[in-house]
């Protein structure tokens, strides 16, 4: 296809907890076709925390939902390959996929009320996957549910099992959401803006919890966020998305110190902390693309301060610019490297 990934090194492949190749998601709606995810390839290593950063409409959430086909199809249509524990998730049937989703890949959503069922107790909802996927007895599942609530820092956990979700506060609900996602000890945890709806002091509690859980459980985490501060604080590696594509990915320190894509640079540049107080902010002009067609040019070209004719003529592939640092920008591509991707 159009976007070529660099040939990954052998060690990358072996260390991947999950790898997506040329993931593409299209929504067919009455008003036309939306190209939400356009050939996204990435991996998350064992025990690694990958932050996926982007604005609304960048395709970051849709890409994550596409991994385990959580989107209603139709209107969504997903293509590509998703390798997890030696199999391509795209080839699994519904029953096999359900087993993977419930047990081996955990999901945490922005609003925990969307993943918690309001008519069942928290205890019931925690125990259900344990009994179903791990075949635990009622008693064992109940014990495990208490352990899980304790693990995520819910006080007097045993007494809270019989409470319904609505009696929990927002922060506590998100802890329950994390406990549910962790119930069957997944190898990969996907968290979609899990702290966006929370206050900062509560967000700080949840981030602290995740730092602690990582150390103890060692699963791979994909953390979707629009907040560069959150990503800076918890991620090992950051992937920046724009217009349904990965425009840059690098180790966290690298990305903040030496961003290579003009969008990443502009995004960092617009932060108020990088200005003298009261000074005009260096804003990014214009609007994100509407993605009504498959992109034939760089999606950031319309807003890019460094745009030149090539950016409008072709969509730049994601290529390695430095070890462990990939970028999709014609300015970053030495001319002799280009032809081989096409």
């Amino acid at each position: 296809m159009r976007r070529q990934m660099n040939a990954p090194s052998a060690s990358d492949w072996e260390a991947s907890a999950l790898r997506a190749v040329a993931l593409k998601t299209v929504f067919h709606t009455q008003d036309g076709t939306i190209h939400a995810v356009n050939g996204v390839s990435f991996h998350v290593g064992e025990g690694e925390l990958l932050a996926v950063v982007g604005e609304s409409g960048s395709g970051k959430s849709v890409a994550m939902m596409s991994l385990v086909r959580l989107l209603p199809m139709p209107p969504a249509a997903v293509t590509g390959e998703v390798f997890f524990q030696g199999r391509d998730l795209m080839t699994l049937d519904a029953e096999e996929l359900r087993r993977v989703r419930g047990a081996r890949i955990g999901f945490v959503f922005q609003d925990p009320m969307t993943s918690l069922n309001p008519v069942f107790t928290v205890g019931y909802q925690l125990m259900e996957p344990l009994r179903r996927h791990l075949g635990m007895s009622r008693r064992r599942a109940r014990e495990r549910a208490v352990e899980l609530l304790e693990l995520v820092g819910i006080p007097s956990a045993a007494d809270r099992l019989d409470d319904y979700p609505h009696v929990f506060s927002g922060g506590m609900r998100q802890r329950v959401g994390i406990a549910m996602a962790l119930a069957c000890e997944p190898r990969v945890l996907i968290a979609d803006e899990p702290t966006t709806a929370l206050d900062v002091t509560v967000q700080a509690q949840i981030l602290e919890l995740v730092r602690d859980l990582r150390g103890r459980l060692g699963m791979a985490i994909i953390w979707v966020t629009h907040d560069l501060g959150v990503a800076a604080g918890i991620a090992d590696r950051i992937m920046v998305m724009y217009g349904g594509q990965v425009v840059e990915q690098a180790a966290t320190a690298d990305l903040f110190e030496a961003p290579r894509h003009p969008y990443t640079r502009a995004l960092l540049d617009t932060l108020p902390g990088r200005h003298v107080p009261g000074e005009r902010l260096r804003a990014i002009g214009g609007q994100p693309p509407l993605m009504l067609q498959e992109p034939a040019s760089c999606p950031f070209a319309q807003r890019c301060p460094q745009v030149f004719d090539r950016c409008l003529a072709a969509n730049p592939p994601l290529v390695q610019a430095a070890p462990g640092h990939d970028v999709a920008c014609w300015r970053e591509l030495p001319v002799d490297k280009v032809h081989h991707g096409h």
Binding site: V200, T201, A231, A232, Q287
Partner: protein, 339 residues
């Protein structure tokens, strides 16, 4: 699109500027009724005894977490509610108990920009009609004069005046917020309450709107009450910052003093919780992780309202409510131990 045509920003307003808005002991309780007879069983104490002033031409930020009463405070100052107690002086005149026509004639001078432009713009009115509505209500313009004024307002907020005939859904989020700003400016106000004006916008659009607000302030001499939970943006645009917790103001200081040496334990925790978009700072910083969550404003804790989560609380804090004290330099803090 930028609004480069506007004037360059002037320096922060001098500390000696006279107050435009003075608030004294402002209290806003919402009664709670329960049971078959709808008896009054208590009150949500949203705002409890706020005292501060907003100087002409400055941006006073009101910060705090959800439920702390910051939005209610802003709305009460604008007299969208009738306060339970306390005084609000606007340009020297007490407006806390005004009613009817005398309140209506005051409205043009005090305006509001809302968080969600989607929800605050009537979807069945064109952008032009939305911006013209306050003019119809409060001015005796001819239709031609009104059209001219609407075009000028749209232009001033960086929208193409020819878009006046479009409906809100035809605009992006950032553009819709510009329509809300144009409407707030239509009557040439002195004072604007900005209630989370950028919270619903994407990062790359936030900066555009903040620039617009700063440009308009410099050009029109506006006074802002900037209600926000985004502390990094507050640090950028405010001259002074008031911090609220559970209906009370816990600290008020100049923006630099507040961010460089917060005095109240809550302010300290709040600032330490804001993630810094810099991995080096994030790796080395000391975080104060608060326990628990904000108690209910229906039955706030005795004494200091922050004591249930305060890492420094002692017995005294449960018994005696800390008075607001003025520290050297003019900042104030409501904590027994802060100095």
């Amino acid at each position: 699109m930028g609004t480069e045509v506007l004037l360059p920003r002037e320096g922060q307003p001098a500390a000696v500027a006279p107050p435009l808005v003075e608030v004294e002991g402002l209290t806003m309780h919402f009664p709670v009724y329960k049971g078959l007879l709808r008896r009054r069983v208590g009150a949500v104490r949203s705002v409890d005894g706020l005292t501060f002033e907003i100087r002409r031409g400055e941006t006073l930020a009101l910060v705090g977490e959800s439920g702390c009463g910051k939005s209610t405070a802003g709305r009460t100052i604008l007299r969208l509610y009738r306060p339970t107690a306390g005084r609000i002086r606007f340009a020297g005149r007490d407006i806390a108990t005004l009613e009817g026509e005398s309140l209506r004639t005051l409205r043009p001078k005090m305006q509001m920009i809302f968080q969600d432009p989607q929800a605050s713009l009537n979807p069945r009115m064109t952008a032009g009609a939305i911006v013209a509505e306050p003019l119809v209500e409060h001015c005796s313009f001819t239709p031609a004069q009104r059209r001219e004024r609407v075009r000028a307002l749209l232009d001033a907020v960086g929208l193409n005046p020819d878009f006046a005939s479009r409906y809100p859904h035809e605009f992006s989020g950032g553009q819709r917020q510009r329509i809300g700003i144009a409407r707030a400016l239509a009557l040439d106000p002195d004072f604007v309450v900005c209630d989370e004006p950028i919270a619903a916008l994407d990062v790359s659009i936030q900066a555009q709107v903040v620039n617009l607000l700063m440009d308009l302030q410099a050009k029109l001499g506006l006074t802002y009450l900037f209600i926000s939970h985004d502390l990094s943006m507050v640090r950028h645009i405010a001259s002074r910052v008031a911090v609220m917790y559970l209906g009370k103001m816990v600290e008020l200081a100049g923006v630099r003093e507040l961010f460089e040496s917060p005095k109240h334990p809550y302010t300290q925790a709040l600032l330490s919780a804001v993630p810094a978009p810099d991995p080096k700072i994030e790796a080395s910083r000391q975080r104060i992780i608060l326990k628990g969550e904000i108690p209910s404003p229906l039955s706030p804790p005795s004494g200091c309202r922050f004591r249930t989560r305060c890492p420094q609380a002692v017995d005294l804090c449960a018994r005696v409510e800390p008075e607001r004290r003025v520290l050297p330099g003019g900042r104030s803090v409501a904590c027994h131990f802060a100095q």
